[in-house]
Symmetry: C2
Subunit: 672 residues, 2 copies
């Protein structure tokens, strides 16, 4: 017996049940609730008090003080060492969830702190954990976790960021001394943007082009000391400050030059590739491509984390803006009447409710991705070694990181403007979080480059699916599917033609039905994919691979977004179905209904906002006005439960803002 599907677009007179505590359980893992409570309690100590307008040096000092306090409070105990061999069964998985919950709280407080910890634990520690040998991990991770071995992650150089494979730092195996000579051969090879390198870090994982016996074997990471424990310089290493940034100034990003620095053999991370004492290079990977990809494994985990944590920044902005919109009034509907609340304005609902709906969907999708990533991270191969990042996880994390961070950027901006002048006031938080979050669109992979990565991978997958189909009598591809064949399952859906469209047949579909949204999203993604493949094939006949890709780059990014949209909506719909099933079992309403509304509004918002859906023919011209009307209705409906929804995000009051509460009292003269 199927669960009754909740109406995705209730009439304006139909009450929308809302069970805030249960919704909250869906949006924040109840298993780690006690961790969150512990962290939020710690945040009541003065060092964690929100502060604004400090000079850069003070902001850095405060970030470090907060971090130290979290270390001394034991919040990182086990975050890396629980994964070491010998740790009790299940300890690794539990530690992951715990650390995720800690970071979730930090994301609400201080993005600099989040990034500082992320670089140290996730990138520095993560690289050692993922790429180091068992001995190396056992030797170093306890110190990293205890924060006695403070590290950073030095991949990017002045000359190479997105194209990390082009870095120019060299590491040459020196048989005579039994070590490597690490060197910065020219100015463009200086390490750049390294979080913590200006002041905080003592160690780094430095990535360099390795040459062994005259043979270049590509990019490899080395654990290198960059300053003494007391902070004084070490021979051969020069560091400098990247200086003030547009935000995130609690993080001391720095630059590093290596001047023929000798690195002992044991400090090349040797879990995947190694150089023997006799100078023989061995690699676990068959191809240079695979080898390079494996080196950046820590970045995938980082992207999974960013995809999740940027949603918290969007949640913070929305919580503040929605609460303000319910207490701020402007203009009287009729002379003498009380002024209307901002959320009574259709235009105001429009600017906040679509982002709210999308934030809910992205949060669900990012949580699902995290669960998949964590489960994957616990997997071991026959030799007991970690399994490398799958193409599916690589692609999903890249797409999710890009879309979630762009979404948070736009949402925070909209919240800023929706709060008028108050949205610009530092203690109302939105503007500062907006500025400091901004760089999430660039680091751990520039968003546009990531979207291109997704599109390239999809193109390959598409070709594989088509190839399998074309073989006469071939069974539809069964496992092993192409890496994210699941994502492409929609290609089996009835195909719509490519543009220009044949005239639509039949009357307009019912835009209020979830099936409508799913089918438009799928049809659009399928058409984009088909068109992209055709355009790329055509361009490849007359242009170089570079030229052919350039000819389709804009379409490629749009295709990647279209496919990711299918994925996001599917995750959201699955959550609705699960909630409806649960409600059918226990008779408790209040989760499936608001969720169904959010998922539907998110989908309609996507479909209505871009001309692409009309161009591809996935949405018909005679349906467009109905979609627009349904978006307005959806916003009005969601506004009715908006307060409950943002309450379900569970952000503690002290981390909100004056305008989220009684802002008249807060601004009273008596308080001066």
């Amino acid at each position: 017996m199927g669960a009754p599907a909740p109406s995705p677009l209730p009439a304006s007179t139909t009450p929308i049940p809302l069970d805030v505590p249960r919704l909250r359980q869906l949006l924040t893992d109840p298993a780690t609730e006690s961790v969150r409570r512990r962290v939020f309690t710690l945040f009541e100590e003065p060092v964690f008090g929100l502060r604004y307008g400090e000079a850069t040096a003070d902001e850095r000092a405060r970030t470090r003080a907060r971090w130290d306090r979290m270390v001394s409070a034991g919040l990182f105990v086990g975050c890396l060492t629980s994964h070491l061999p010998g740790a009790p069964a299940g300890a690794g998985a539990a530690a992951r969830s715990r650390h995720d919950a800690v970071m979730e709280c930090v994301a609400y407080l201080d993005h600099s702190l989040e990034v500082a910890i992320g670089v140290h634990v996730g990138l520095f520690g993560g690289t050692i954990a993922l790429l180091g040998s068992a001995d190396q991990a056992a030797a170093w991770l306890p110190g990293v976790e205890a924060h006695t071995m403070r590290g950073c992650f030095a991949l990017t150089e002045l000359g190479h960021g997105s194209n990390a494979r082009g870095i120019e730092t060299t590491a040459v195996w020196d048989g005579a001394s039994g070590g490597f000579i690490l060197h910065t051969p020219r100015e463009t090879a200086q390490k750049y943007w390294v979080g913590g390198a200006a002041e905080t870090a003592r160690w780094t994982t430095a990535f360099a082009q390795l040459t062994v016996g005259g043979v270049a074997v590509g990019v490899h990471p080395f654990v290198v000391r960059i300053r003494a424990d007391d902070g004084s310089p070490v021979a051969g290493v020069t560091t400098a400050d990247c200086g003030v940034k547009g935000g995130l100034n609690g993080v001391d990003n720095g630059r590093i030059w290596f001047d023929h620095v000798w690195v002992p053999r044991g400090q090349m991370l040797a879990g995947e590739n190694a150089v023997s004492g006799a100078g023989v290079y061995t690699s676990r990977h068959a191809t240079p491509d695979a080898r390079f990809a494996a080196q950046l494994a820590a970045l995938t985990g980082g992207r999974v984390g960013i995809a999740r944590l940027v949603n918290n920044q969007a949640k913070l902005g929305l919580t503040i803006a929605v609460r303000y919109a319910l207490s701020r009034r402007a203009f009287a509907p009729s002379p003498g009447a009380p002024e209307a609340r901002l959320l009574d304005y259709a235009s105001h609902r429009r600017r906040l409710m679509v982002p709210l709906a999308t934030t809910v969907v992205y949060a669900l999708a990012a949580d699902a991705l995290k669960a998949e990533w964590n489960a994957h991270s616990e997997r071991k191969d026959a030799d007991g070694r970690r399994v490398g990042v799958t193409k599916r996880l690589h692609v999903l994390s890249a797409g999710a990181k890009a879309l979630c961070s762009w979404h948070a950027r736009d949402t925070l901006q909209e919240c800023r403007e929706a709060c008028g002048g108050q949205g610009y006031k530092a203690d109302n938080r939105i503007a500062g979080v907006r500025a400091t979050h901004d760089i999430s669109c660039t680091f751990e992979g520039d968003n546009l480059v990531l979207m291109h990565t997704v599109a390239k991978a999809l193109l390959g997958d598409y070709a594989a699916v088509l190839g399998a189909r074309r073989k006469p009598g071939a069974p539809s591809p069964s496992p092993p599917l192409p890496p994210f064949g699941e994502l492409l399952a929609f290609l089996n859906a009835p195909r719509v033609g490519s543009t220009p469209l044949p005239p639509a047949r039949g009357g307009p579909r019912d835009v209020t039905s979830p099936a409508f949204v799913a089918s438009v999203l799928r049809a659009h993604a399928a058409t984009c994919m088909t068109d992209l493949a055709a355009a790329y094939a055509a361009a490849s006949k007359v242009a170089s691979p570079f030229g052919a890709w350039n000819a389709v780059a804009t379409a490629a990014a749009a295709t990647a977004a279209a496919v990711m949209a299918v994925h996001g909506h599917a995750v959201g719909s699955a959550a609705v179905a699960a909630a409806a099933a649960a409600a059918a079992r226990d008779g408790r309403a209040g989760v499936a209904e608001p969720l169904a509304l959010a998922v539907h509004l998110h989908g309609l918002g996507l479909i209505g906002a871009s001309p692409g859906y009309l161009r591809s023919g996935a949405l018909r011209l005679d349906e467009a006005a109905a979609v627009e009307a349904a978006v307005e209705d959806g916003c009005a409906a969601l506004a009715r439960v908006a307060r409950g929804l943002v309450d379900a995000f569970g952000i503690p009051e002290p981390l909100l803002a004056p305008i989220a509460g009684d802002w008249v009292a807060h601004n009273s003269r008596a308080r001066l």
Copy 2:
């Protein structure tokens, strides 16, 4: 003999002539070139050196020091007093141009400084000039101009911003004492956000609800002292700091409470409305609406200024991003080849070239608006008094302020991301300008509220045009037209139906023709206008005026944008025609061609970006792919002249950024 129209979309092999010095003359008024040179030379003094990461107090002090230096350099001499009676003929107009040129330079250097001066000269001085009597102007403006009478503009209150008419500060005529009692009756009536009120200003124009003889006559401005010249408090006035903001921290925004402050009769600005010694209130305005609108005249000038100056911020970002995109390389097109420049990437061109095109068009439109505003400001009525703001200027300035500031916001963000990590570095300027510019979307009128204002005015105008047409045998309305009937002339163009469209007839049009763009923009605006009027009329039958407006608010803002787009494109096209005519006369190519390309790409960009153009039927589905392809081609073409175009903006090198020059040398270890 008409000038040959330049091709708006040259083939990739056709050279695009570009005459940078002449283009520059078009984009920056040559008549004030010497002023700009003087200001830019002054900016080489140390106090104007670019600085980042300061604490708020230091940033404020630096802004004041810069301002003082500009005063002592005589840069404001005549900016207000040249308009006083007795000044030589033409002095007023010349002073306006000079001051505009000064502000244009300041906009490139320091947005806080721009705003501080804008508030003092434009809002405080401007209010006295526009609303004061001749005696009041003569008494105060010399001190304002000399900066000995430092002022601010106190309209907004904690409780009322957009709805300025709802402010709660009271001013009661007290016949016994021959003055007014100014009072803050409750917390929401405290003045809020007043630029300069926290520390700098000694005087303000305080807006208050005036009551004379028990009769409430609406909002009126009073010149009031808020602190002594030495900065100490004055009786009855409490000030406080608005604190740190998301940017613009060189401006000390403050709050003000009045505790039954007595204001002499002569300090109510009496050019438009006055209270006689006998307590008789007289007003130049027939209705309360007209009276209220007139009080805010200084804001119109402010909006004209913002519309113009935010383009300079976009120009700054684009100059930096384009120059970086021509020197930064990433990824090799083929193994061993040099890496490609960022601007070789189609996706990179797409993100920078459409904004560049739009910036050129908006700059032309804002300059035209400024010229219209300045000319209007010189006009006098039969009594020798300034003519009030016309509805046309009110509306055009509102729309231009909103669209230009949103555009600058988006452009700066795109530039930030297009420069990767470097775009976030403070000394590369983009992130800081982005943050500090942000509030331009809110102050001097929240952008969305302004777009609603435009739409409401258009609706009224539309009804008037229709009414005139309907009278049988009536001549088409001749001057006096409805206030911006010119804007609506397109309604005479062949009408397209409202959505859903009848199937398109005839083949697709030629998207490379400027006539195509103009006709799509006009048809779209006309349909939006028709549909909006119909929807509003229908909604008005079943809902209150508030409800009816709410039902169409989203469509209204889109309609306002559609009409403004027609206007902007028309201004751009006129500039192209004028440049082509000049070239036909003197045979010199290089202005009309790049301009034609920019105007065309801007138009195509608008048409292609929003589903609205397809929904309204102004763009046909079978043309959509061609528009998309033409946008890509246009970006490729504009990229070929992009460096020359940004050079024509004329921003001095010291105001640019390291990444606009030799950023490898800038980052060399030798420079540490």
